[in-house]
Amino acid sequence: MKIIYKMAFRNIFRKKGRSGLIIIIIALGVFAASFGVSLSNGWSESVYREHIDMQTSQLQIHANKFSDANEVAEFMDKSVVQETLSAVDEVVYASYRLKTNALLSTAYTSVGLILIGVDRDEEIKVSSIHSTIGSDDGNFFESDIVRPIVISKSSAERLNAGINSKIILSLQDSSGEIQRTMFRVGGLYQTNSTRFDNTTAFVKKSDLIPYLNIPEEAIHEVAIVVKDFRQCDEVKHKLSQLLPRHDIKKWDELYPLLHLINAWHGIATFLFLLLFFIALGVSTTNFMMMSVLERKGEFRMLNKVGMAGNRIGLMIIMETLFTTLIAISIGLLLCVLAAETFSKSGIDIKFLFDNNSRHGYSTVIYPTINNRDFVHIFVLVPAISIIATLSPIKKVLK
């Protein structure tokens, strides 16, 4: 009924001050909720990026018995795996790696860590480690240094080493024999994870293989990037069927803390939004109760002249809906503007942390708008407002 919608819309502007106040309150609430969620999404994404891009990649393949002990003798045939991966459309990039435990020593000290042998061109497509090497910190296997090794800045500090410094590498080959050789520091990287930095170093695959006593085509690990991140489960399942004698793991299995972060992120977002919705419901009830009770005489008149209770109720619901939609639009617009403003520079929250701590995520957060969150807000906020209006309607129609 057009007249009901007309009346409902115009009723919003009867008490401009009060309506304006409730619109501002809801708009600010929607902005806080949506921007908060976008910051949370951004942080979550940066955590995933840090770990997945730098550390685990999206999927990894190992020989079944490779396990966490990094058994050198448990290697895979690169050609077999490569052929299989080329048949899977969803796989975009793959880096075929060697992996072993090693001891790095200088005259100063020794550190034990995991040594990863990579092909540079393959590796830079699945990992962003190379992007963390500053211009004064060498490079990722681009120089003429013979047998270069890329270590973290924190490892370099412990070893008292710099670019071009000699490092003695000690490792165990496939037959258990200790091998020793010298490498030179070619690059210094630094991620946001102290744990990763202290436990990982990179060398060229071709420089490492002679010391492992394994075939030329042997590999220990394949790091994979797929077309769409959401396809990880599907690709994992596919690869498990194509390579039944291999161990296929997804990023959250490789780093269970990420899985926990993912789950907690979901719960925290839900609780945050729940609190927001409860506050919204209470404030809407209060506002509409005030608004309808002072018009009780008017509603009685409308009923007397023949406007049925359900139409009066509909009119009140439409008033709430129009008010809420105006507020949501303003709130979401503010969120989009804020997200756009900070999308390039990010929001640096390092003042909240001790300068020396790096826990695996960047302190710069880039708000990320997820369309699904916006749809939730656009649907749920009006729905809750309408539910909150039912009590005032019941009171006025009594």
Partner: protein, 238 residues
């Protein structure tokens, strides 16, 4: 008092032993007491009496706005108290027009929209509604205020618009409860003349409660209530 039967086509309203009592603490107050009344088509009837005589209660009972303690109200043969709530609201919408003492108009609608309001609730054709609204605006002399909001009108103007709205859907009759109570002499006079004009032109039955002598002087039938009972029922040729 004229005794007219239901099968007389001119009878719009008939009450039978209509009584309404209210509980006031421990005591029972009889607002109306066994009222038997008929209202015929085209009447311009005033229900008069001192404060507390039951005028408003009688109008509310006839309009279906309150249920009687006993007795019946027939509107065009329909016992309105047998109707369910929704049916009663619908019945009022299509058959009875109302003019109240206060709060007649919808503040957010214009004069034009207020007049067309009941017709729109009824689902009347848009063109028909526009034509009827224009006709009534002309009749009440407010064509130039069609787009105005009620807050910009005087008390008398508001009441004239209320009468036009009540009339718009051509109801069986219009109930007006103390329509001139808050008006000055000039405004009251104008309103009454408007109502008389509409009564003559549109042949709409008016039944109103009042203790305003200006209204009493214009009515063609005066029903006097005292302590909830009809004590006088007089017709006048004016």
């Amino acid at each position: 008092m004229d005794k007219l039967k239901d099968n007389d086509k001119s009878i719009i309203v008939r009450t039978e032993e209509l009584s309404k009592s209210f509980l006031n603490g421990q005591s029972i107050i009889k607002a109306t007491d066994r009222i038997n009344l008929t209202i015929a088509s085209g009447e311009f009837t005033a229900v008069v009496g001192p404060s507390g005589s039951g005028k408003t209660t009688l109008l509310n009972l006839i309009g279906g706005l309150t249920k009687p303690s006993s007795g019946k109200v027939f509107v065009k043969g329909t016992d309105i108290n047998q109707l369910k709530d929704k049916e009663l609201v619908n019945f009022r919408l299509h058959n009875i027009g109302f003019v109240f003492q206060l709060l007649n108009l919808i503040p957010v609608l214009t004069v034009e929209e207020n007049i067309g309001f009941v017709m729109e609730l009824q689902g009347a054709d848009k063109e028909q509604r526009i034509a009827r609204t224009a006709e009534l605006l002309e009749l009440i002399g407010m064509k130039d205020r069609a787009g105005s909001r009620p807050s910009t009108l005087s008390g008398g103007q508001k009441q004239r618009v209320a009468v036009a709205r009540a009339l718009a859907s051509k109801p069986l009759f219009i109930l007006a409860d103390e329509p001139t109570a808050n008006l000055d002499t000039e405004a009251a006079e104008t309103l009454l003349n408007t109502m008389l004009l509409l009564n003559e032109k549109e042949k709409i039955t008016f039944l109103f409660s009042t203790h305003d002598p200006r209204v009493m002087n214009k009515a063609r039938r005066l029903i006097t209530l005292e302590d909830g009972r009809i004590t006088k029922d007089e017709r006048y040729v004016r």
